[in-house]
């Protein structure tokens, strides 16, 4: 995603602090994700003015306001579409997309699938809390069957989406899952996701302490099994990744499920960008070219 950062770039954690502090509920999983992103950017030494953090709408989508990079806090579900435009207009920028499960897998589901098949070069972090928080607790696309919420008071009867399987099927070239309480592990995944050239999908369990009383820190902790702990696991093996993605309940894998590096990025595949980012391009088209455009019509 970024060209090798210059060694002289020094970015301190303090530089990445947003204009205001997060207003998430105390204990919200999103704090851990914010801290991990900031740490990853410092460790990768990416200057904050070269980063654009883009979100949709929801608790977790307030993220860009809490980090000092360029930011876009867009419409519900549309962050990936906006981010694709940003990346194609200036592919020198590091693009981070942050949001929640409702934003990404519900209202934004269409853009989620198509951004992955396009291999847009960005890192998409979903803070997955299996609930709609900002609208005060309704069923989300990742809520489990049977979960009782204000919108499904007698229990959810719809099967949840499996974000990891979906990402693998849609052609994401980097697919990973983290847990916001596993800071070091999560920071590592974010760094890998940023460095990966192509679409990096990172689903992060980020518990909602206010509205989701099923999927709590206590529920997650004993179930988290790091893929890195299994030396036999090969993240280049798509079928193996698909197999692991189906595990749930007693054992839930986190870590890097899959990565492939042989697929061209969207911006890399388009020769129009060979001369450099469009944001720096001359607005005028050479006269001989425009003359040819008119001659075609004569």
């Amino acid at each position: 995603m970024v060209t090798a950062p210059a060694a002289t770039n020094h970015v301190a954690l303090a530089d990445l602090r947003g204009k205001v502090d997060p207003d998430w509920c105390p204990g919200c999983g999103d704090f851990g994700v914010l801290a991990a992103v900031q740490k990853a950017l410092v460790e990768l030494r990416i200057p904050n003015h070269n980063v654009v953090t883009i979100s949709g709408i929801g608790c977790s989508s307030n993220f860009p306001g809490f980090i000092n990079t360029y930011g876009m806090h867009t419409l519900h579900g549309r962050a990936l579409a906006v981010a694709t435009g940003v990346k194609l207009a200036n592919h020198d920028l590091t693009v981070l997309v942050t949001g929640g499960d409702g934003d990404g897998f519900g209202i934004g589901g269409n853009h989620f699938v198509h951004s992955m098949r396009r291999n847009v070069d960005l890192l998409y972090i979903v803070m997955d809390n299996q609930i709609y928080g900002l609208t005060t607790g309704q069923t989300s696309p990742t809520s489990r069957v049977g979960m009782k919420t204000k919108s499904m008071p007698f229990g959810n009867i719809e099967a949840p989406v499996n974000p990891i399987s979906l990402a693998l099927a849609a052609g994401a070239t980097f697919v990973a899952r983290g847990f916001s309480a596993e800071q070091k592990h999560l920071t590592g995944l974010i760094k890998q996701g940023i460095l990966h050239k192509g679409f990096s999908f990172l689903d992060v369990f980020s518990p909602c302490v206010t509205y989701n009383h099923d999927n709590t820190y206590q529920w997650f902790r004993p179930r988290m099994k790091k893929l890195e702990d299994d030396p036999a696991y090969d993240h280049a093996d798509w079928m193996a990744a698909m197999g692991k993605s189906l595990l749930w309940d007693e054992e839930i894998p986190i870590g890097k499920f899959f990565e492939r590096t042989d697929v061209p990025t969207l911006h890399g595949a388009e020769p129009v960008l060979n001369a450099g980012p469009l944001a720096h391009a001359d607005t005028r088209i050479p006269v001989d070219v425009t003359q040819a455009f008119v001659e075609e019509l004569m």
Binding site: I57, N62, P64, A81, L93, H114, T283, I285, M298
Partner: protein
């Protein structure tokens, strides 16, 4: 009356109506003749019926006109539908092997072509079309070399054998006409000029390229798809990133993303796609990221009639997205204007950091017009407004950049991502000058009011930047015809016909719909003797808009909502009907059956 000559070619989709049309258009424009072409077609790939009208003349031809001088029916259906359109002096060239002629009006020349005798129809399936083109050009007094040249270009890719086969067939038709058919009374002249022939979609795409558009994206939708096709085909030469996106919601948001990163960004769709984009327009307005969206109107509501024209989206444009925000809305007046309007609206959108909407319609989008190449200016004025693209430019004196700084003009200098020292977040939520949300923890009614007023102050600046409309024709005319957008040409011709018939007429054509310049319009209209609003929709969308903005109520209305454009006589007859007090609302019937 200006002398013009019109050809009508009718047949089933897939029968090759377009190719003879292209050939005639090339030959006319290269002779220095102006032309206007309109294709009435159906949403079907093979079969059905399509009727192409090409009208040519020495002066600008602004619409399809009232008269067909030469009819070329490619099947029986086309003969049956259209022979009745012909009047004295006109001719009909047809394949007498397969088509039975009807009874033409007095003075109509029926020109049967024995196609199987003149060409090997087992080899060439469209021989009847080529023979008819040859015969027709002969009757128009055009020498054969012009046709040979165009055929050679047309079939170049298919090889020399195909070229000569087609040239031979055309020649046979040409020669057959010499001995068997009477030439037309008006041999088509030749001038030293040469024109480009283009559709409104191509014009808007090229206008975008001229305006410095670097990002274009779209979802295919008739009648806007032509913009995508031109952009896609010319993207690499023009240095434009062109993407086909999963839906129009993605389209507008992707376009906004690119615009936010600093490039000029454009997209086009029709009413249905625009409906999906409307939330995005609000995003553009709230983040103050300029984007230009083209709506090519077609007959609605819903899927409606995808291949037919209408001016039925005005209120959708006026109300697109919730909340109050500054927007610019312009309707191009003709195909040449489709080119010019794009750089103009980009300058305004960039200067005032708001969405710009171009309200086109099928008539212009898919119609074709001869345009002087000199009028296609690829180096128009480009004004990007207050844009910060390098660390040294722009105000950052106090070390704290305020993206949404409250200013007198309402415009705040806009830094693009990547510039050191200007990091900020642009949000769809209400925010303060710093970009910090004032929608949750820091909700503040004083700040909210200040931000609303800051954004809305831009409206005053936009009004100054956009010229008021002007009255065309004598001030003291008997009739003032008011139109907007694509009806310019046909109203203009109706005014000429009325004046010739002793009813003096002038025209007020609206190009900028938002801002409207209501006071300037009232100044013009208060001097008018009798006013009629002409528009291509059912409810009089513009009449209602004008009334809501100015309280002005005209004396009458002429409306058409059958999917087909106005022809000059529709307006002329309606005006006369209203002058004798027969009606205040005229809805002309379309006589061409497609």
């Amino acid at each position: 009356m200006k002398q013009t000559f019109a050809i009508g070619i009718g047949g089933a989709a897939g029968q090759g109506v377009a190719t003879p049309g292209d050939i005639f258009a090339k030959i006319f424009s290269r002779r220095g003749l102006h032309l206007n072409a309109y294709n009435a077609y159906q949403s079907i790939i093979r079969g059905g019926h399509t009727f192409l009208t090409i009208r040519t003349g020495l002066e600008k031809v602004t619409n399809m006109g009232d008269r067909v001088d030469l009819l070329i029916p490619l099947n029986q259906d086309a003969m049956d539908r259209h022979l009745g359109l012909l009047s004295h002096g006109a001719a009909c060239i047809y394949n007498s092997d397969t088509i039975k002629p009807g009874v033409g009006a007095e003075g109509v020349q029926l020109c049967p072509l024995p196609v199987a005798k003149l060409a090997d129809i087992t080899r060439n399936k469209v021989a009847q079309n080529t023979l008819a083109v040859g015969a027709g050009l002969n009757m128009m007094g055009i020498g054969f070399p012009a046709l040979r040249e165009v055929l050679a270009e047309q079939f170049k890719k298919k090889g020399e054998a195909i070229v000569s086969e087609n040239v031979d067939i055309a020649r046979a038709g040409y020669d057959y006409a010499t001995t068997n058919f009477r030439p037309f009374a008006w041999p088509l002249p030749m001038t030293g000029k040469s024109y480009a022939v283009l559709s409104g979609n191509i014009a808007m795409a090229m206008g975008g390229a001229a305006a410095g558009v670097k990002f274009y994206c779209a979802y295919p939708m008739s009648p806007a798809t032509g913009v995508l096709h031109w952009m896609a085909a010319h993207a690499r030469k023009a240095g434009i990133m062109v993407r086909q996106v999963e839906d129009e919601i993605g389209v507008v948001n992707m376009a906004i993303g690119a615009a936010h990163a600093g490039v000029r960004s454009m997209c086009a769709t029709s009413g249905g796609g625009f409906a999906l984009m409307s939330e995005g327009l609000g995003l553009s307005a709230m983040m103050e990221t300029p984007v230009v969206v083209i709506d090519c109107q077609r007959a609605g509501p819903s899927t409606g009639v995808p291949t037919k024209t209408e001016q039925g989206d005005l209120w959708q444009m006026l109300g697109a997205a919730f909340g109050d925000y500054p927007r610019v809305l312009a309707a191009p007046l003709d195909i040449g204007d489709c080119f010019k309007i794009i750089p103009e609206i980009f300058n305004i959108a960039d200067r005032f950091q708001c969405p710009g909407i171009v309200l086109c319609d099928l008539l212009l989008s898919e119609g074709r017009l001869s345009v002087d190449p000199k009028d296609l200016d690829f180096v128009p004025v480009i004004d990007r407004g207050e844009l910060i693209t390098t660390a040294s430019s722009g105000p950052n004196g106090d070390g704290v950049y305020k993206r949404y700084k409250i200013t007198e003009s309402g415009v705040s200098p806009r830094a693009v991502p990547g510039v050191p020292g200007y990091t900020h977040t642009a949000a769809s939520d209400e925010h303060d000058e710093d970009g910090v949300l004032i929608s949750d923890e820091f909700t503040n009614s004083t700040k909210r009011r200040a931000m609303m007023e800051k954004r809305m102050r831009k409206v005053a600046g936009i009004e100054v930047a956009v010229p008021p409309p002007e009255l065309w024709g004598p001030r003291d005319a008997d009739i003032t015809l008011i139109g907007w957008g694509s009806t310019k040409g046909v109203i203009e011709e109706a005014c000429e016909i009325l004046t010739e018939q002793g009813i003096s007429a002038n025209q007020l054509q609206i190009r900028w719909l938002v801002p409207l310049h209501g006071d300037a319009i009232l100044d013009i209209l208060k001097c008018a003797r009798r006013t009629i609003i002409v528009e291509n929709n059912y409810s009089g969308q513009f009449a209602r808009y004008l009334r809501s903005e100015t309280s002005f109520v005209p004396d009458g209305y002429i409306r058409k909502y059958d999917g087909e454009p106005f022809m000059p006589h529709h307006i002329v007859e309606a005006v006369k009907e209203q002058l004798i007090g027969k009606s205040k609302l005229s809805v002309p019937a379309h006589e061409i059956l497609v």
